[in-house]
């Protein structure tokens, strides 16, 4: 009988304790970020989709068309093409396509790049209605930036 009453009282008390906790939070300020109006800065290491890096001296890409990124990619979403040109040492980049629909943002390509010609963008507001919009021509993007 005593156990019975004790359980009722302790049980009821536990319920009031719970209510006390939630009401305390009720009067505390909210912690959420109101996304479209407020945004958080991206951390420097954020792994967005990749983009080509501009060489500060020449203003051109640093890519030497070695194809290491293409080989490192587990999902085969990078296509790199280059050609030999007169008077230029090494190959010249003609195409750098990222099929972002297949990319899993693992970053193995960036790691494999010896000349550090690709980097992660901090772009995360990616939404669209067409698949084609996500086949990025990174070379054009770089040129558009210039």
């Amino acid at each position: 009988m005593i156990d019975y009453l004790r359980e009722i009282i302790s049980g009821t008390w536990s319920l009031f304790v719970g209510l006390g906790i939630t009401i305390r939070y009720f009067f505390q300020p909210v912690v959420t970020v109101q996304y479209p109006y407020q945004t958080l800065p991206m951390t420097p290491r954020f792994r967005g989709h990749i983009e080509l890096v501009k060489d500060e001296e020449t203003g051109e890409t640093k890519c030497i068309v070695c194809g290491m990124c293409q080989k490192a990619c587990p999902s085969n979403c990078i296509t790199v093409n280059g050609e030999k040109r007169e008077g230029v040492k090494g190959k010249v980049l003609t195409e750098y396509t990222l099929d972002f629909t297949k990319c899993s943002l693992c970053g193995l390509c960036v790691e494999s790049c010896t000349p550090k010609a690709i980097t992660f963008s901090k772009d995360y507001n990616l939404a669209g209605v067409k698949k084609e919009a996500y086949i990025f021509d990174l070379k054009k993007r770089l040129e558009a930036k210039n």
Binding site: T12, L15, G18, L19, I21, T22, Y25, F26, V30, V31
Partner: protein
């Protein structure tokens, strides 16, 4: 042409009551969302109007423009009648609730009985809707609703009987009048009648939660178990009416607790009684109901049966016996 002013008064009250019930149902959804959000440290609805105040309006329009799907295989009559059976009794109950000294549509001598009779129809509506929609989850929900009904009605009515013994009347208006003059006159603190009155209030409140299918007793809906329970097959306004009925029932339950235990329109300090006090008390109770929902996990229906038969019923009977003994002695 002579028209009885009583009829005009009744009609005005009817319109008022329906408007009150619908407005409450709509804005309690807003309150629920806002309160839940703040308990969880979010903001909640904020896009439509200031503080999201027009959100219920938009929701209502959305629900009304949606197609009313009547799935193949359901019992068409039961399926359609069920939401109405939940909503209409709730509105009917408002007729006899005294919001203020003079603010009552029809003061019945058996007001208490009428309200509890109407309140039980709610269960019938849920049962019919669940059964009629021929969905396995809904059928399980129907079984739960009935077992839940058995569980809470007894302690609730025993508590009310205790109260009727003290007051000696079933007229809600008279019950409130007896409690006038400050919070120490309220039934919840009427310790000379029975020292267990605060406990009786708790029992009544718990049973009210169960009656209105609110958490932690929302086994009929139990979205993490039964998807949406009785409402699984309902769409558009069919679901909307169920929803509004649920909130209307909460308003009834909170009003009843206010009238029976908290002195109705009486001011706690005995000054300036009025409808405002009634509303403050009622909305505070509704706030508590929502607060409870966003705090506790759900019980199981056998948990509710255990609670009812092992704890609530013995205590309420004990209270009944104690009260009658004290009435006899003093």
């Amino acid at each position: 042409m002579y028209v009885d002013p009583e009829i005009i008064r009744l009609l005005a009250f009817l319109v008022g009551v329906i408007a009150f019930a619908a407005l409450n149902a709509a804005y309690l959804v807003w309150l629920e969302r806002k309160e839940a959000a703040h308990i969880q440290r979010r903001i909640g609805p904020k896009e439509v109007g200031p503080f999201g105040l027009f959100q219920p309006l938009v929701d209502g329009i959305k629900l009304m423009t949606k197609q009313l799907i009547v799935p193949a295989g359901v019992d068409p009559v039961l399926f359609k009648i069920a939401p109405i059976l939940v909503m209409v009794p709730a509105i009917m109950s408002f007729v006899t609730i005294p919001f203020g000294e003079t603010l009552v549509a029809r003061n019945l001598d058996i007001g208490l009985l009428a309200i509890f009779a109407f309140a039980s129809v709610n269960v019938l509506g849920l049962l019919l809707g669940a059964w009629g929609s021929r969905n396995k989850y809904a059928v399980i929900s129907a079984a739960r609703v009935v077992s839940q009904n058995v569980a809470y009605e007894i302690p609730m009515l025993v508590t009310v009987v205790t109260l009727v013994m003290i007051t000696g009347t079933m007229n809600l208006h008279t019950i409130v009048l007896q409690q006038q003059g400050g919070f120490w006159h309220w039934n919840i603190f009427n310790l000379s009648a029975s020292p267990l009155m605060p406990v009786a209030f708790l029992i009544f409140f718990v049973c009210m939660l169960a009656e209105t299918n609110r958490a932690p007793f929302d086994m009929a809906e139990a979205e993490s178990e039964l998807v949406a329970g009785a409402f699984t097959e309902y769409s558009g306004m069919g679901f909307g009416v169920f929803f509004m009925g649920e909130y209307a029932n909460i308003v009834i339950g909170a009003s009843m607790a206010t009238i029976l235990f908290l002195g109705g329109w009486d001011c706690p300090l005995g000054l300036f009684p009025g409808v405002l006090w009634f509303l403050i008390k009622m909305y505070f109770l509704i706030f508590t109901v929502i607060w409870i929902r966003w705090t506790f996990p759900r019980t199981t229906f056998y948990g509710l049966l255990n609670l009812s038969w092992k704890i609530l019923i013995p205590i309420s009977f004990f209270n009944l016996i104690l009260t009658s003994a004290m009435l006899k002695v003093f």
